[in-house]
């Protein structure tokens, strides 16, 4: 096969940082090429160089595309040549319809007047191609994330895409939507579209990729050919630069007394009062135990956690939460914290951290009384506390006065954990604790979780990644459509068992 794209010796420097160092990338026509690498390895920078976000001249090296030397000055230049990037954060306007979004900036028009009939007709064709059956006039707001992703792809197709680049396309998708998307990629490949996929999820990479390029610290360290078989361990080893025979640290299973018990928990939707989101759930977690909650996205896992934690979600909440056998008041967040609960949110940027403030500011935020006297803060003590957790969790930062917005995902997550550990909770509810974190940092987070349970804390872990639950939990509750449909011990649990419990309902 001929090469569609060849990037030769790409070097891109930012003040003080060499983000890319002599990177070579070869993409053959009609293949699916995966780029793997830890957060910060340089994947997105490479794609920005390719698409003209970093214009020609701002980097060293050459790009050959479709038989010519490519010198893109803007994103538009590369789009005109058929290169389309779909970013991690979707770039759709929620208040506009599917059709309007697809032709946004590329409207079907005559003299500035939009040709609605043609727009809708073309949209229907495009939606058929990506397997969506929604009407072109549907507001993007009202369809799920999975479908929005497909709309993005339809939008790319509308531009006569030759090289489609997907940056972490399945990060926000649940299992079956991910699968649909990957199948669509294979279909597009059959139609002759070349794809580059950037992904953390190695099972997905194995599923679709013909070739894998691994990038580490701004350098392309290996190119692997799928026809010779792809081993996940090999990819992981190349990504982190060391042998990671184990992706989950060993843990001693030693569950003690029941710490928290939730009984007959019921929650209704805050806007649609007739919709019961959590149905009669009861569960418990013991001292030193890590309990998992498995389930697809939308099964109500986050809603369960947030409704327990100070009724932060939902209405008409009923049920009882008890700690060491005594009922506790969790009706307000501060009361839940005082009672000994901590909740690490799923979305650390919008719900967990104040990005413009320092590590110190964020670390003490949930327990300011612990660093103050009669309402007056003791900043020296705050620094002490922040330093203590920086060392304990090995947060990589020059000082605790660093803005958390400047930290990598893994280090940000450590700051969130530090914040909650400082409240000295007995029960930690972790909602997707490793989302968007690279492999090396995940291992560190797992080790921290193990250490906490070894100290006797009760941990509830919610995750969409089943291998993670299987690797970490002593017990797993399976959740589907707002109810618990099964409970598995670590020995019984397997991906197949969990899926079959979800499907059988």
């Amino acid at each position: 096969m001929t090469l569609l794209l060849e990037m030769r010796g790409i070097t891109k420097e930012f003040p003080g940082v060499k983000a890319l160092d002599q990177v070579n990338l070869q993409v053959r026509e009609g293949e699916i090429h995966a780029i793997c690498g830890e957060n910060g390895a340089g994947k997105s920078t490479l794609m920005k160089v390719l698409s003209g976000v970093y214009p020609v001249g701002s980097y060293d090296g050459e790009i050959h595309y479709d038989g010519h030397l490519a010198e893109f000055k803007t994103l538009r230049d590369s789009e005109e040549r058929g290169i389309v990037i779909i970013h991690q954060e979707l770039a759709l306007v929620p208040q506009l319809s599917i059709a309007e979004n697809i032709f946004l900036g590329n409207e079907r028009q005559t003299g500035g007047v939009i040709q609605w009939q043609e727009t809708f007709r073309r949209t229907e064709e495009l939606l058929a191609k990506v397997g969506l059956r929604d009407a072109p006039g549907t507001l993007v707001d009202s369809i799920g994330v999975g479908k929005q992703q497909l709309v993005e792809i339809a939008k790319a197709l509308s531009k006569d895409v030759k090289l489609l680049i997907l940056d972490e396309p399945t990060a926000a998708l649940q299992e079956n939507d991910s699968r649909k998307l990957l199948d669509l990629m294979l279909e597009l490949k059959a139609q002759g579209v070349t794809c580059i996929i950037i992904s953390h999820k190695l099972n997905e990479v194995r599923y679709v990729a013909d070739t894998v390029t691994v990038i580490r610290d701004g350098m392309a360290v290996s190119e692997l050919d799928a026809s010779q078989g792809l081993s996940e361990d090999r990819i992981v080893r190349d990504m982190v630069g060391r042998d990671m025979s184990q992706r989950y640290p060993d843990r001693n299973r030693r569950a003690g007394e029941v710490v928290m018990a939730v009984k007959d928990w019921n929650v209704w939707h805050p806007e649609h009062a007739e919709r019961q989101v959590i149905k009669n759930i009861s569960f418990n977690v013991r001292a030193g135990e890590v309990v998992g909650i498995a389930g697809v996205m939308g099964s109500g896992r986050t809603e369960l956690a947030m409704s327990i934690f100070g009724q932060s979600w939902g209405r008409g909440i009923s049920g009882e939460v008890s700690l060491h056998g005594k009922p506790i008041d969790v009706s307000k967040v501060d009361r839940a914290i005082d009672a000994g609960l901590a909740y690490v949110t799923e979305d650390r940027k919008s719900l967990g951290l104040i990005l413009d403030e320092s590590i110190r500011f964020n670390t003490t935020l949930a327990n300011l009384n612990g660093v103050s006297d009669k309402g007056v803060l003791n900043e020296a003590e705050e620094t002490d506390v922040a330093e203590r957790y920086r060392k304990a969790l090995a947060t990589r930062t020059p000082t605790v006065m660093q803005k958390v917005g400047n930290l990598s995902g893994g280090n940000q997550q450590k700051v969130v954990l530090a914040k909650w550990l400082f409240t000295e909770p007995e029960v930690l509810i972790l909602d997707e604790p490793t989302r968007g974190i690279d492999v090396g940092a995940k291992y560190e987070i797992y080790s921290i979780i193990n250490e906490l349970s070894a100290q006797g804390k009760a941990v509830v872990m919610i995750s969409s990644e089943m291998p993670e639950l299987l690797g970490m939990c002593d017990r797993i509750y399976v959740m589907n459509e707002g109810a618990f449909v099964g409970e598995l011990s670590a020995e019984e649990a397997s991906q197949e068992r969990i899926m079959s419990l979800i499907v059988s309902e």
Partner: protein, 412 residues
Amino acid sequence: MSTHTAETAGQPESQGLKHYLRNHMREYGLLFALIAIMVFFQAVTGGTLLRPVNITNLFLQNSYVIIMALGMLIVIVSGNIDLSVGSVLGFIGALAAVMIVHWGWSVPLTIITCLIVGGLIGAAQGYWVAYWSIPSFIVTLAGMLVFRGASLWLLQGQSVGPFPPGFQMLSTGFVPDLFPAAMTAGLAEIAGSRNFNLLAMAVGIIAAVAIVWLGLRERARDKAYGIEGEPANFFWVRNAIVCGALLFLTYKIATFRGLPNVLVTMGVLIIIYAFITQKTVIGRRIYALGGNRKAAKLSGIKTERLTFLAFVNMGVLAALAGLVFAARLNTATPKAGFGMELDVIAAVFIGGASMAGGSGKIVGAVVGAFIMGVMNNGMSIMGIGIDYQQMIKGLVLLAAVIFDVYNKSKQG
């Protein structure tokens, strides 16, 4: 790529001063802007700007804007805005006039009642913002119209005055010198002025010493924790300028009539609010609320109550400003405070607060108010018409915010 920035951003000495200056451009820029503006007007007004009587006037003229800017900073940091403060100022002035002049209430009773009414007004507006999530822009826009109308109604369209001397003291009174006349007379001779208020000078000296001492203590602490603070030469130059200016101003004031009462009120309030915002739990929570409301709420912070209290506080300060303003004019007019909310808001934004909430400092807001005040005063002395004055002030506000945004984009 964020890992790289985090790991390289803190290379301490290597990039040193330049790096530090780039990250703190805003704070130094603000200070130098104020000094530059003062030097400029001092020159073009032929020395009138910094004459003792004019300095005293500057403080009196701007006191109400500064008092309200303290509350406005908190409201803006919490992620809201209050457009009603000009109208509330006018309304409270009118209320005080009616109470004293028409109803014959005593001065202390009037003052206390007015402050309570101000708090209630703030509560009435804050309630909708905090507990009903109605945008503060809309609630306080309504408040602005309501209280503008209410002052007209209270005063029946007339000016009401004058106030008894006790009430006027709020604004035009001076703190008497505590030192014996013999001492001050000698100093007056040296200074070449009619009198010399040693108390004012002493307060200035104590304040200067306190500023340096607190700064040094903070530095020692940071150093003990290895936190990279302000470089030593920056620290000393900045303190020399601040203390020099402070001593110069108090010296000038001392050669006139001493400390105006309102300057003392203002000074005490500035210290209290700077302390609350920077050093207390409630202050920290307000920044967290403005920085990320959802994250703050999930950290156990009572966001609704804090928002509510921010507006109550604003109402009380607007009431106090209303009393000071009425006392200064010695009459309550239906037009009092018209458009003043814009001066207050402008001062806070010039002082570096962000519209999105979560950032801004009391000191910044005060300096911002003085920048506006000195420009008003200087341009008036020069005889520049109100038309040009407004245009220039508008452009200065825009320039300050552009400078801010530009700096942020540079920092990346």
